[in-house]
């Protein structure tokens, strides 16, 4: 007799299959597993402080984003803060640089010719550029929290992105699309503003004049800017008057001359012991070719929007015993328009100034309408 083994398969043997499956049942969950599972939520429990901070920061982020968009839209519009060309200077009639167009450190805003009125460097720039990104994220969380309870819980657990994507709603794509578009808009606006980080409302005006005592002559360069040549006098003083203009829509205060930056960035600083600025007497705005007119020592002064004023820059020259004095000016030095020095010279093209606007201290280099060149008596160029 041969007995076939009975298989526990098939409709008549379902009980066997059930028995076999139940034999695989490991019983109640071990305590170790229970403890591990209890820790799952504990380890990722969101901080309660966020429950309070998130709505507040979301509102703040939304407000910041709205301000930024409004700000950018205002600048873009034809009624932007600096739409159109800069207003004419109120100073004396320019002489050497009368036909020179102002040089902008950055390109003007398309179509309107406006440049940015508010400085966008330092903390303000960081805030204006970084806030949109933060605002976009917070807004997404805000949308998610406001709209759906499940997404709200997800937002509490995983943050903004998780909350938004956890929305289970037939029209969730609308929110996602809106969130993505908002984020993209803010990023574009932020990046657009970033390129204006070097813009500055403080520019030279259209008035500049050299000290006639040591003036040798002028020369127009092919690049469009002039050079004003003055003889180097060891231990002497060279004076030049120039016009400063606030081309922005907000008042600014010129606070100081940045001598440290001047020494670093201007080669001619090696021949100059100090730089002194003098202002017109009293609160007088405007200016004069006469360097003696500027009787007042420098003090911080305010430039109103679209306003300008003149000041005199006094360069205190070093002795520089190894450097021969520059040539004495001829009788026709004032009208010597195509003067070309026969010996070496160094040039000062920019004046570093500090100013404050909206309480924010900034540095800028005012590019001179006509660079000041110190002409030596020989080709020696070391002090």
């Amino acid at each position: 007799m041969r007995r076939e083994r009975k298989a526990s398969i098939g409709a008549p043997a379902e009980k066997d299959l059930q028995a076999w499956l139940r034999a695989r049942d490991a019983g109640p969950a071990p305590e170790r597993l229970r403890m591990r599972v209890a820790l799952v939520a504990e380890e990722t429990r969101p901080r309660r402080i966020w429950a309070l901070l998130r709505p507040i920061s979301a509102v703040a982020g939304a407000a910041a984003a709205a301000i930024l968009i409004l700000f950018a839209a205002t600048l873009r519009g034809p009624a932007g803060p600096l739409a159109g060309r800069p207003s004419p200077t109120t100073g004396p009639t320019p002489t050497a640089s009368e036909n020179m167009l102002p040089l902008m450190p950055v390109g003007p805003w398309p179509r309107t010719g406006a440049v940015l009125a508010v400085p966008l460097d330092g903390p303000l720039l960081a805030a204006l550029v970084a806030l949109p990104f933060l605002a976009a994220l917070l807004l997404m969380a805000y949308l998610a929290r406001r709209s759906f309870a499940d997404a709200r819980r997800s937002a509490a657990q995983k943050g903004a992105g998780g909350g938004l994507w956890a929305i289970r709603y037939p029209r969730a794509w609308i929110l996602r699309l809106a969130g993505a578009m908002l984020a993209a808009t803010l990023i574009v606006v932020g990046c657009d503003l970033l390129q204006f980080s070097q813009s500055s409302p403080l520019q030279y005006g259209s008035f500049e004049s050299g000290d006639p005592t040591f003036g040798l002559g002028w020369r127009s360069s092919a690049g469009g800017s002039d050079e004003m040549y003055m003889a180097f006098i060891p231990g002497g003083q060279l004076r030049a008057t120039l016009d400063l203009s606030n081309q922005g829509e907000l008042p600014l205060t010129v606070t100081s001359f940045d001598m440290q930056r001047f020494r670093v960035e201007q080669p001619a600083a090696a021949f100059i012991s100090s730089v002194e600025l003098r202002l017109p007497p009293g609160a007088t705005m405007g200016g004069s070719y006469d360097v003696g007119y500027y009787s007042e020592a420098f003090h911080p002064f305010e430039l109103p929007p679209q306003g300008d004023t003149s000041l005199v820059v006094i360069l205190h020259l070093k002795e520089c015993p190894s450097v021969e004095p520059g040539p004495a000016p001829g009788p026709d030095a004032g009208s010597n328009r195509n003067y070309l020095p026969a010996t070496s010279y160094v040039t000062i093209g920019e004046l570093p100034l500090r100013y404050s606007m909206l309480g924010i201290e900034r540095e800028t280099e005012v590019r001179l309408n006509a660079a000041i060149s110190l002409v030596f008596g020989s080709n020696a160029v070391t002090c």
Binding site: R5, I9, Q18, R24, A26, G27, P28, V40, P46, Q157
Partner: protein, 201 residues
């Protein structure tokens, strides 16, 4: 019977109250999740152990499922459906683990009694051999088929219940059951087992 209905209503009321409290933010989601997970952990672990056939694997699967469930807890609209939802996650984790096991099979050493087929065995030993054969046959099923068989024959769920739990059509459940049982039968036969008992003179 009335009392039981009253208990059910009370439980429903508690569940609704808990749900409302959760929605209104009075209940911490982490506390709520921990409570629910602990309540249904036994069910999930036992189901995982049946599907995977290994308590250690089941423990890891249950833990992984709990982590996933917590991450997705925000997507659970109705806390009353936590058990089904959690078990579905457990089964998905089990399926992934089974697939991983298939890609990285463990080589089993041959047993000491040599070839199983053709051996006479006492009843007790026969049962053990039958279970061993079922283990082998079950392990050869597709992970989806294993899950369906476990839900059908271990949890005693109907086809419709399984379909709801796995969020698949009932026809798919029937199809998987059919193919799973046929494959089990084939595998058992391949190992020398027959469905019918026959005595030959």
């Amino acid at each position: 019977m009335r009392a039981r209905r009253g208990d059910d209503r009370a439980k429903d009321g508690q569940a609704v109250a808990a749900h409302v409290a959760l929605e209104r933010g009075r209940v911490d989601p982490a506390d709520e999740f921990t409570r629910l997970a602990d309540r249904y952990l036994d069910t999930a672990y036992r189901l995982a152990s049946v599907v995977l056939g290994d308590p250690t694997e089941a423990e890891d699967a249950a833990h992984d499922a709990a982590v996933l469930a917590w991450r997705r807890f925000g997507t659970l609209h109705d806390p009353d459906r936590f058990e089904q939802w959690f078990c579905r996650i457990v089964l998905n984790v089990c399926r992934d683990r089974l697939r991983h096991q298939r890609r990285h099979p463990v080589v089993e050493l041959p047993s000491e009694d040599g070839e199983r087929g053709g051996l006479q065995a006492p009843d007790r030993a026969g049962q053990l051999l039958a279970r061993d054969a079922l283990d082998r046959a079950f392990a050869r099923l597709e992970p989806d088929h294993q899950i369906v068989v476990a839900l059908r024959f271990y949890r005693d769920l109907t086809v419709d219940d399984i379909a709801r739990r796995l969020d698949i059509p009932a026809g798919t459940v029937k199809s998987r059951l059919h193919h799973a049982l046929r494959r089990l039968r084939t595998e058992m036969e391949r190992q020398g087992w027959r469905e019918e008992t026959s005595d030959e003179a």
